[in-house]
């Protein structure tokens, strides 16, 4: 069942001094109930703006368009959140830096209690619910962690506490924006493990935003790749990582794999890289946004935007090579 549908989301930030910045240029994605979907993209591709749209953050001064449906009901409007919005209670968000959401002057239990209370729990139930949330995120023994201040927690523990805060509203979707990017790989693996079990135990959907394709293989059900504000390929994880359709995704995976391969007997082996850089958000293009860097581009690519070619098995791709 489609839990959340985002259709043709467009977000343009207007600034006084610079050209308008097109963060999202028609992003469409459907999230199923109980699914873990990874959103892969490089800086400026629009991943964080997409996360904010789903989390209902106010995008001050931005022009927004598109449709959001959560469990069949339509959202008020994109880029703002009101109590009337259907998604307001079902979607929580976690950012990269837990220290930004934690108050350094409050003990873990006090911070958590604020969130628990905001979601309509009676005074008598608060302590029990706080304890339960600490257990859920494996901050054990919960009694001991409840009394700690943020500075007494490691980076991974802080992120667990911020996850507990996100879970206080019993969300159906948790949007994680680079939630493990500042953690080392072992701590990251523990957090991924935590989300896998949350999905299994509570059927929570996870939207996992990352720039690192190597860590989603055993974690995500599907991968959606963003480039210049659109989803250019969406498909089952193994397909996207191992036999990608879009030339950009293929190049990206070559970069990723060459960075960790040790086949060469001597050092100095060059890594695969994509020439040039991703387009700036202020640029506009008539055709395909990847055409200037694409090794397989056709004559028409610069003029005509590719259509979404979708197949049941392989997923969706926006590239002229797959149009019928």
């Amino acid at each position: 069942m489609a839990l959340l549908t985002a259709e043709n989301i467009q977000v343009t930030f207007q600034t006084r001094d610079h050209a308008p910045s097109h963060a999202l240029r028609g992003a469409s994605l459907t999230i199923q109930a109980g699914e873990i979907i990874a959103i892969l993209g490089e800086s400026g591709s629009g991943k964080s703006t997409f996360a904010k749209v789903l989390a209902g953050a106010r995008l001050g001064g931005a022009q927004c368009a598109g449709t959001l449906r959560f469990k069949g009901g339509q959202w008020g409007s994109v880029g703002s959140r009101s109590s009337a919005d259907v998604g307001a209670r079902g979607i929580a968000m976690i950012g990269q830096q837990a220290s930004l959401v934690l108050n350094p002057f409050l003990r873990a239990r006090t911070q958590l209690a604020e969130f628990v209370q905001a979601h309509g729990v009676t005074r008598q139930q608060i302590a029990g619910r706080v304890h339960e949330l600490l257990e859920v995120v494996r901050l054990r023994p919960a009694q001991r962690y409840a009394a700690k201040y943020p500075h007494q927690l490691s980076g991974g523990e802080k992120q667990r506490l911020s996850i507990a805060m996100a879970l206080a509203c019993a969300p159906e979707i948790v949007v994680c924006d680079e939630a493990t990017s500042s953690l080392d790989t072992v701590t990251e693996a523990e957090i991924l493990e935590l989300f896998s079990s949350l999905r299994a135990e509570r059927r929570v959907s996870v939207l996992w935003i990352t720039h690192n394709p190597l860590r989603v293989r055993s974690f995500a059900d599907r991968v959606a790749v963003m480039y210049a504000g659109r989803f250019i390929e969406i498909g089952p994880t193994a397909n996207v990582l191992d036999s990608p359709l879009h030339p950009y995704v293929a190049e990206l995976m070559r970069c990723a794999k060459s960075g960790i391969s040790v086949h060469e007997d001597r050092k100095g082996a060059r890594l695969a890289s994509i020439p040039g850089a991703a387009p700036d958000a202020s640029e506009s293009f008539a055709g395909c946004s990847f055409a200037p860097r694409c090794a397989e581009k056709r004559d028409t690519c610069a003029q005509k935007a590719p259509e979404n070619a979708s197949t049941e098995v392989r997923g969706e791709v926006e590239c002229v090579l797959y149009e019928r």
Partner: protein
């Protein structure tokens, strides 16, 4: 001094350091920050040693010792065959010129007020290299080497992308012709395709300038391609130090195996 020792860019022997009590544990919120315990290793001229390890393994403390931000309790550091820890005044400054560093977050290590030209030529001025004319030429030659056009010389760091900023940081480090470049997580904050471009650039620059690299990383991306040797740190110690192929194909220490397992 033996012929072999003469070619060393860096020699660290029996380095020990403990953070003082008030800086450790829960008070500073860095319960994991390790000191250094009996660290010894060498880097030959033009060679790359990568040091990998998890957060809190002591990598950053080691870097701080080598660039002189932290004074070790005991041990020796020889940079370009000169005794760094026991040098003072002009002698110390002369040694300091031989080692330059590039850090992870170049946005915070480049002054937002200075132009790229000012940033790159500042070390030349500090070390009083040449005259204004020769500094300008040197600046143009290193910005060329890192693959940026001359038009960037008048820009400021806020106008650059992450990858371009890192190129400027590399150019600045290379301007004074160091023998050793410390690369402290230089690729970590960058996008994948930019990581690959930068890693290739570093490999080319090493071939061109013959500079040795001490490359620090918490993950193994790019390590195989850049390194001659790889050392693994854990709890303030080097637990394994091996030839790159040996380390990847036949890891001995548990910590190395765990890092390799997490990589894939």
């Amino acid at each position: 001094m033996s012929v072999e020792a003469a070619a060393l860019a860096l020699r660290v022997s029996n380095l020990n350091f403990q953070y003082k009590k008030r800086l450790t544990g829960e008070i500073a919120g860095i319960g994991a920050a390790a000191g250094l315990a009996d660290i010894s290793f060498e880097i030959s001229a033009g060679e790359t040693l990568s040091i990998v390890g998890k957060s809190g393994s002591g990598k950053s403390t080691l870097v701080k010792c080598i660039v002189g931000l932290v004074r070790p309790d005991s041990g020796d550091i020889f940079i370009a065959r000169m005794d760094y820890l026991h040098a003072a005044g002009p002698a110390r400054k002369a040694i300091r010129r031989k080692v330059q560093a590039v850090f992870q977050d170049s946005a915070s290590s480049l002054s937002p007020r200075m132009t790229v030209e000012e940033i790159i030529s500042e070390p030349l001025a500090i070390h009083r290299v040449g005259n204004a004319q020769s500094r300008r030429e040197r600046t143009r030659s290193v910005i060329d080497a890192v693959g940026l056009p001359y038009s960037f010389l008048t820009r400021r760091s806020a106008e650059l992308s992450g990858g371009q900023r890192q190129r400027v940081a590399i150019a600045r480090a290379l301007s004074v012709e160091p023998e050793l470049l410390i690369l402290d997580e230089p690729l970590t904050a960058l996008d994948l395709s930019i990581k690959a471009q930068l890693s290739n650039l570093l490999a080319e620059l090493q071939e061109q300038f013959g500079v040795a690299y001490l490359h620090i990383s918490h993950d193994l991306f790019g390590v195989a391609a850049l390194s001659d040797r790889v050392a693994v740190m854990h709890g303030g110690r080097i637990v394994e130090n091996a030839d790159r192929t040996a380390l990847f194909t036949n890891p001995v220490h548990l910590e190395t195996r765990s890092l390799l397992a997490e990589m894939l």
